[in-house]
């Protein structure tokens, strides 16, 4: 991000934070505008997005202070693998983006003033900045670029050494597995992409690079709706590695989604590998293990889909709110303070769309407050 001191030992001034947030807000707005519509026949996405962002605004600062008291975020995000758990790039970035979006929504709803809660903002920003430094394994942040490279070089070398040539039959089964995993993760995460994160491009040589896709499934009870499903799967965190030619451009956006040009990058991959992530290890899976894994995922997906379909739309909305509002559960568990935090939804957020009173169209609220028509970026300056 532009505007921040690179050295972690130097706390940014409010002016520096605002310069950084202006840059972040421009990138966020541009990425949101590409999506154009945020709805689904299964989940009331706009409503749960608005509720969860408000919930983040109300609850996140105290939750992060509790986690930080238990463990410095620099240490928290520096532990184990920087891919394959919710202590990853999308987890960290979306937490800040959603908190700041909650501020915009509440300002637009005239429930807070632009000058409200500055101490909370600075606590969230400090946590996020220390976490980002820990995730990237640096005391100084690199210059902004369209790449995200949390994996240390030794891990990258390990993966490069374990790649399998993308023969047509191998490429086909890896592609099917990647699609099935991504599809499952979207369902489990209520149509959000919180379970999916891209990092890269990690250079291999002048002609090739490595792109990584992480797919993280709830393994420890973060989402109650996965309780009957969890045991159907042999692994719960995956990393798929693609070796791509530099003729395929890769650009990772502000929340860890890669765009490739040409878009059908799968057909351009020259080598591949699928890993299961366990703690701080990446376990390479054999090609023979992939087809049974696809069948397990399809069975889990079918059951989870039936369970969601039997819920009311209001219950599915609450799943979505919890999914987004519980991003920091994994962090609290790692820091050893999961039980010390109240994870209940606040009554103030619940009231937004409880079906008991007419409320403004959530799509309109989000568009006006967060996409911010007439503003260069999503976020107004802090003060």
């Amino acid at each position: 991000m532009h505007g921040l001191p690179h050295d972690l030992a130097t706390e940014p001034s409010l002016q520096e934070w605002n310069a950084a947030l202006e840059d972040l807000g421009r990138q966020y707005k541009a990425a949101l505008q590409q999506r154009t519509v945020f709805e689904s026949e299964m989940f009331p996405i706009s409503a749960y997005v608005v509720m969860s962002h408000v919930e983040d605004y109300l609850q996140l600062p105290e939750r992060l202070r509790t986690i930080e008291r238990a463990l410095d975020p620099y240490e928290l995000f520096g532990r184990g693998l920087p891919v394959g758990s919710m202590r990853n790039f999308i987890g960290l970035m979306s937490t800040l983006l959603h908190y700041l979006s909650g501020r915009e929504i509440l300002i637009d709803l005239q429930e807070i003033a632009p000058s409200s809660d500055l101490r909370d903002h600075l606590d969230v920003l400090r946590f996020w900045r220390r976490g980002l430094h820990g995730l990237l394994g640096v005391r100084r942040l690199p210059e902004p670029s369209p790449s995200v490279l949390p994996l240390h070089r030794e891990r990258v070398e390990q993966i490069i050494g374990e790649l399998i040539p993308a023969q047509p039959e191998v490429a086909a089964v890896v592609r099917r597995l990647g699609a099935t995993l991504t599809s499952y993760c979207f369902l489990e995460s209520c149509d959000s992409r919180l379970g999916t994160c891209d990092t890269g491009p990690y250079p291999i040589n002048e002609e090739r690079y490595l792109a990584l896709r992480e797919l993280v499934i709830d393994h420890d009870g973060r989402y109650p709706w996965v309780d009957p499903i969890r045991s159907l799967l042999p692994h719960h965190a995956f990393v798929i590695a693609y070796e791509l030619p530099t003729s395929v451009a890769m650009r990772v956006n502000v929340w860890g989604t890669a765009a490739f040009e040409p878009s059908d990058y799968h057909s351009q991959a020259t080598a591949l590998r699928v890993y299961a992530a366990h703690e701080d290890r990446l376990l390479p899976l054999t090609v023979a293990e992939l087809q049974p894994l696809i069948r397990s995922l399809e069975a889990a997906q079918a059951q989870l889909y039936r369970n969601f379909a039997q819920m009311s739309r209001q219950d599915r909305l609450l799943c979505g709110v919890r999914m987004y509002a519980w991003k920091s559960k994994d962090w609290a568990a790692t820091a050893g303070c999961l039980q010390g935090i109240d994870w209940e939804l606040s009554p103030r957020a619940r009231r937004l769309y409880d079906g008991r009173r007419p409320r403004p169209d959530p799509s309109r609220i989000f568009a006006e407050a967060v996409i911010g028509e007439g503003r260069p970026g999503s976020f107004r300056p802090l003060r």
Partner: protein, 121 residues
């Protein structure tokens, strides 16, 4: 006869099949799996969870909103299932209509009338 236009997620050969609208989870749960390979699913919203159990088995997908950056488009691309987003339909398409999708690089994707044949029983 052009029935509609939209944005293709990736360039693909033309595909033909039968248009069926999916509007609720029950539509997904009750569809006959044997027909999916000939089904071009039409949906109105670009979330991907809704079609997730059947997406990889479909002939193609058409969504009347969204863009190639939408979640539905991203996962359809991964499956290699042809997909048109932001489709504007020029007329009603009843379930079972034979349609053909033309998705050429650099051009608007077109939905045209497909070869007339009997819909599956």
């Amino acid at each position: 006869m052009i029935l509609g236009e939209g944005v293709s997620v990736f360039a693909a050969r033309p595909v033909s099949g039968r248009a069926y609208w999916f509007s609720s989870p029950a539509d997904v749960l009750l569809v006959d799996p044997k027909t999916l390979g000939e089904t071009i699913a039409f949906v109105r919203m670009p979330g991907v969870a809704f079609l997730s159990p059947i997406l990889g088995q479909l002939r193609a997908v058409v969504c009347t909103t969204g863009s190639p950056a939408s979640h539905l488009a991203l996962v359809a691309l991964q499956y290699g299932v042809p997909c048109i987003m932001g489709a504007e339909l020029h007329e009603d398409l009843p379930d079972g209509t034979a349609v053909r999708l033309e998705m050429r690089a650099g051009r608007r994707a077109r939905i045209t009338a497909g070869a007339a044949s009997r819909p599956p029983a």
